[in-house]
Amino acid sequence: MDVSSRGNSNHEASPSTGTTVVACIFKGGVVLGADGRVSIGNYIMNRASNKIAPLSDSIFLCRSGSAPDTQIISDNGEHGGEATLPAAGQINYNNKDHLVGAMVVAGWDRLGGGQVFGVPIGGTLAKEKWAIDGSGSTYIWGYCDSEYKDDMTRAEAEHWVMEAIALAMTRDSSSGGVIRLITLDDTGVHHKYVRGDEVPQFVGDLPFPTPAAGGASPAGAAPAEGAAATGMVVG
């Protein structure tokens, strides 16, 4: 997510930048997830940010794109009492002139259970089973399309969201840091925080060294004679 506003040469061309946000419904509720990176240009301004803002007790908003614009909406989104999700969706639509961010609104209510609304740039309201947005989302359409199933259990859904965000973080430089998950069902709101060194890694990445390995020199870091890396060897 970019802190700078439009027109500043620091931010990337597309307003939908610097984030991966994922949400999906499962049997009995909804899971939202987001990465934790906020950047200005190439500089990581915040590596553990919280991009999931509450609109009410049971409705949450994942924000991507221009940070100030989406922040205004989440600030204004607080109602007293329990709101239903379509009403929260209506607020976003009425403010569409101000939307240069892309959002995913998800929540749970008594009437409809878990619901996910994608709100891309422009203010379209799209009720979906799952929604992804942000610059990192481009890398995970394939994963989401092929791995999403109806009526997943809560654990399966959380795994799907977390894996999707981790896959996006491993390829998108504008996404990274921590993963935050929020699960909503009839028992309430459940937060999950995945530290940056506990995020799933994939082939090509190296696992984060554990503190148990000691703060001493990483294994193999003392240069060995004539050692060369595999992969794309330059020259």
Binding site: A48, N50, R171, D172, S173, G220, A224, V234, G235
Partner: protein, 284 residues
């Protein structure tokens, strides 16, 4: 260096090896250009199409495609350490995660690069030509880091003058006459030597650490710890980077070596990270 045949064709510029007829006459246009070992068709790699022969203006490198990010390097008691991550980024995509951006020139010298990876691969080809000549001369004399540094300065500056730069920031590190050497050459030919050099984001992030903690007579243990901290801060704060690094070491006694890829331990256990917006709902 062995003398190479050069041409002063207007299309290619002075001092560049090229075909006899770089002006587009029908004799050139009607036959495909023939490359030979002594006459690469352009000043760069041998290829089968000479843009000048076809009448096209020289292409200018306008922007890089696959890029490397920061390089950090310091002198210490026994020599120099040069480190960087292993990412070849494609814009903001972390595309290639095993690019080796440090190249061993000989037992005295390494070169590392940020910027366009293909241009660095070309520079390695040029350096390998020099090293091969040294080997063939077979007199035990190798290029010193200072010579490699001066050569790269000339290459970069001359390409810049043709408005076709090699889009790299190069770090040359080594030991000569028992004394550590460290230099930086930029894509427009800017160059300097110092006790610690960096490229890219590390200029902002790592140089302050070096200014505070680097000494020319520091021990290897302290130097490695400082390098790890510099690489860590580059990973924390440069978004186009990965937690996969290599460090090259050039010493007076043990020559040159490049490490296996390794990851560094990062701190993510701060309490405030867990719930940063608990008391500031709506903030990030």
């Amino acid at each position: 260096m062995l003398p190479r045949p050069t041409t002063h064709s207007k299309a290619l510029g002075p001092g560049v090896a090229g075909p006899e007829l770089a002006v587009a006459t029908s004799a050139v246009l009607d036959r495909p250009p023939q490359p030979t070992a002594h006459h690469p068709l352009t000043g760069a790699q041998p290829c089968f199409v000479d843009p000048a022969a076809l009448g096209d203006p020289r292409q200018h490198t306008k922007y890089p495609y696959v890029t490397g990010s920061s390089v950090v390097a310091i002198k210490y008691k026994d020599g120099v350490l040069v480190g960087c991550d292993m990412l070849g980024a494609y814009g903001s995509t972390k595309r290639y995660k095993s690019t080796q951006r440090i190249h061993q020139v000989n037992s005295k010298c390494v070169v590392a690069a940020g910027g366009e990876v293909s241009d660095f691969q070309h520079i390695i080809t040029l350096l390998d030509e020099l090293t091969t000549d040294d080997y063939r001369t077979d007199d035990g004399i190798e290029l010193t880091p200072q010579e490699v540094y001066s050569y790269l300065c000339r290459v970069m500056y001359n390409r810049r003058n043709k408005f076709d730069p090699l889009w790299n920031s190069l770090v040359v590190g080594g030991v000569q006459g028992g004394v550590p050497f460290l230099g930086m050459v930029g894509m427009i030919g800017t160059h300097y030597t110092d006790s610690h050099v960096t490229t890219g984001f590390a200029n902002q992030l790592a140089r302050p650490l070096f200014r505070e903690r680097q000494h020319d007579d520091m021990s290897e243990e302290d130097a490695l710890a400082l390098m790890y901290d510099a690489l860590k801060v580059c990973y924390y704060r440069d978004k186009v980077s990965i937690n996969k690094f290599q460090i090259a070491k050039v010493t007076k006694d043990a020559g040159t070596s490049i490490s296996e890829p390794f990851a560094l331990e990062m701190r993510w256990d701060y309490k405030l990270f867990a719930q940063p917006t608990k008391w500031a709902v709506g903030a990030w």
